[in-house]
């Protein structure tokens, strides 16, 4: 049995999975399981390569996917219907906001929600001294956060200190970076009825522009040479961090948490990752058994805890929320959560936006970026997304 795991910037996820698999092998000695870690891009390519030439490009038996890839790849026939095979799915033991995007047309489900993360703002109270007097109020809006960044940055440019750190960054501005802010401005990639793309809508383009502005103004460093040489900044070296993960030892270093700027009352975009069983698996029973086993509270809890995310399974999710140090903030975050729409063309639309952001990132890094570049890139990406909508 082969498992494809999505690569993560936090290496602890890979190690946690390795340990999970070791425990599975110990519990089921007859089951032969191994895993490989694939980047998002490589996983996407492998899934399409299988569609093009299934014999030469076999799929793994179990695949970890972003939840909003489910519709696309189930419609393309790559994922097996596991709704009745996985106990957690059959009994719908997930929070309602997750179930809502799980399956559309019928009760069938082609992937099982596994873990989720919620983008949030972290700050070191000590680093904000003199710049922010009431973080809860001043950092509630994006504008407040942005002004605070300027004040913090101006007063403390020394050594390795940075005003803002984004641990999950891939070097360029990515869709994962901009979407929480786009959501914060009530934007999105498609209209509510999914009849047209809305990349250029003021709320969407504005959300993207807000994040790009951080790069243009140097608040975040694109393709960071410093990161290549020294790795990501530690929380002690930053005033703010935007992260969707719980930060280890945050209490010890005086790190506090707030909802993502622009969501004063909480809510916002959550990112969910699911496990799917491939339709072409030669060991479907074994694969389903593993997914069921991985979803069990005693297995999913330590796995998610190890890299600072939440389990999707409702009882474990609620237990985590109860025990969380920043449980008040998390309760606000999870008060009105939204997931990326699980429609067939959404993953492709993200790729179109990713390409636009890559081009813009290169321009920003070369210092020849202008506002019109964003408009032009978004118009082109929107045109392609609209065309896709007309086809699929």
């Amino acid at each position: 049995m082969i498992i494809w795991l999505l690569s993560d910037y936090d290496h602890r996820k890979h190690l946690a999975f390795k340990s999970l698999l070791t425990r599975f092998s110990a519990a089921f000695p007859s089951a032969q399981a191994e895993f490989s870690v694939k980047s998002r891009h490589s996983l996407w390519e492998s899934l399409f390569a299988h569609l093009r030439d299934p014999k030469r490009n076999p799929l793994a038996d179990i695949i970890e996917i972003p939840q909003n890839w489910t519709e696309l790849f189930s419609k393309l026939g790559l994922l097996a219907d596991i709704s009745s095979k996985i106990e957690a799915l059959a009994q719908r033991r997930y929070p309602e906001f997750i179930l809502k995007e799980l399956c559309h047309e019928d009760a069938r489900a082609f992937s099982a929600p596994w873990w989720l993360e919620a983008p949030a703002l972290f700050y070191r109270a000590q680093a904000l001294k003199g710049a922010v007097s009431d973080p809860e109020t001043e950092l509630a809006s994006w504008e407040g956060f942005r002004a605070a960044l300027d004040r913090v940055g101006a007063g403390a440019r020394r050594g390795n200190f940075r005003a803002l750190s984004v641990p999950g960054s891939s070097g360029s501005v990515s869709v994962a970076d901009v979407l929480p802010r786009v959501w914060g401005r009530r934007g999105g990639l498609f209209s509510d009825d999914f009849n047209r793309a809305t990349f250029t809508r003021e709320e969407t383009a504005g959300g993207i522009e807000d994040w790009l502005e951080l790069a243009v103004s140097g608040k975040i460093e694109l393709f960071s040479p410093d990161r290549f040489e020294n790795g990501p900044r530690t929380p002690e070296e930053c005033a703010f961090m935007i992260s969707s993960r719980k930060i280890q030892g945050s209490g010890r270093i005086g790190l506090k948490m707030l909802p993502y700027p622009g969501y004063p009352s909480g809510g916002g975009l959550m990112l969910v990752y699911n496990l799917a069983v491939s339709a072409s698996s030669r060991v479907p029973d074994e694969a389903q058994a593993f997914v069921s086993w991985a979803m069990e509270p005693r297995n999913v809890a330590p796995f998610t805890e190890s890299f600072g995310v939440f389990p999707c399974l409702k009882p474990v999710f609620e237990e985590h929320l109860r025990d969380e140090r920043e449980s008040d903030v998390y309760r606000r975050l999870f008060s009105a959560p939204e997931l990326k729409p699980n429609i067939m063309v959404y993953p492709t639309a993200e790729l179109l936006l990713e390409r636009a952001l890559w081009n813009l990132s290169l321009k920003i890094a070369r210092r020849d970026y202008e506002r019109e570049d964003l408009t032009r890139e978004l118009i082109m990406a929107q045109g392609e997304a609209d065309y896709l909508l007309s086809l699929y």
């Binding site: 190690l15 390795k18 191994e34 490589s42 569609l51 393309l76 492709t348």
Partner: protein, 509 residues
Amino acid sequence: MKKSGKILYDADPGRAFYEGRDAFLKAALEAVSQQFSLDGASFYEYEEKTGLLRLKHRCAAGVSFEHEENLRPVPGSAAARAIETLKAAVSKSPGGSFLYSPFRFDYCDPAGGRSVIPCFGLVRLERSPRKRRFSPAETARADAYLRSFLRDYYKAEFFSLYRKYDKNVAAITELTEVFATALRVRDSFRHILSGIQTYFGFDRVRLYLIDEKNRKLKGELSADIRGQIKSIAYEEIPLEPGAHRFADIVLGRSSGAFMERYKDCVLYMPMAVQGVTIGLLIVDNLLSQQRIEPEELAMLKSFGGQIALAVDNSRLFDKVEELSLYDELTKLPLRRYFNQRFQEEFYRAERFKQPLALIWADIDFFKEVNDTYGHQIGDKVLKETGRLILSNLRKIDFPCRYGGDEIIILLPQATGAEATRLAQRLSQELAELRIPVPFSKTRELRVTMSIGISTFPADASTQDALLEKADDALYWVKSHGRGKISLYSDVAEEKKKAEQAGGSNNAVK
């Protein structure tokens, strides 16, 4: 399931063979990590144009994983020096000790082209601050070790290119055969599309053909990435400038009319035969957003002429077939086609115990029309008769120009009475018809028809008998004044009465 990334022959660097690039990277990073007691090892590709190092693979704490990160080395740093000089360099920072081992090799396109494919990057070896730094001797050893491994990378890359090339050769051979043997429209379009889909593996292939008569570009078929083919006949695009992007491409009003690429993922290929555009083939990777490789574009372009010819051939074949089965003048099927359908309909009627009626009609005095007014007028009479018949039949009825001015109509599931009603309608409409004859005194010509009808199973139990009885009924009409309709059963009744009367009536023989 086959394990991906498995070393096939040998784990020794320089002599191993890997199943693809990922397998190589995994093995190389794991081996070097173990050999030199590393805490991490990463494989980066270097993009000269942007100056970015692109992380592809990493091995840390005993786990290998793919990862994507695009970072720029600090100018003057050990990594930058390694890339610039292509010599190993080391550095030490609070983050630990690092060794950068660069590589650069160019290999020729296995397809025999002149292009050279560059492969440029570096491997970073890492040790935590607590561990010893890389000594010059160890640096040299590690660099040599990696270089021997990279020979395998070269082989893996070359092998994957060769596999691609090999696949392309197979595609050329098999597609040529598909296109050459594509004959019938319905089948051949499917074959062509599935052939393209099988060997190129695009997200979608669509075929549009020009309907010259209506000046439209009409959708024919679409094949998706799963090989499913469906009709797109509902798509009709007016062939006018500016009406649609596809119309502009076909009309040559779009830039790069022959091969136009739309953002790397779409290829519009107008199809032309002897300089005349007959349609448009569109392939796209829009859903996957994967780039259509230049060599695929080139190959598809080279196939463009063949595809167009195959499409045109199959259309011509259908046209020829139509000509051989249908009478050009009356547009009615010919006798050969009728014989085939008659057999099928007769079997069906027998099997399902349904009635089958047969009308045999003859245009009265048609020879005289030809002799008096000439063949042009005779042809007009036939043409109008054919039009009139076709406009009065149900979909399941089957008419035929049986020969000369004789016309037969098969009426499945019809009784004698129903056939008679149709015959009456045809007779009446024909009688009302005025054929203009400019050079005659009357300026017009009127014609009538004699019609005989037989039915299965009432009148006959075999095909031949059914034809024979209809012919008998027709003969009865012709010998009793023409311009009338007779059912064989009535004729037989008449004949019986005459025989009983002991008369010498010879109307029915």
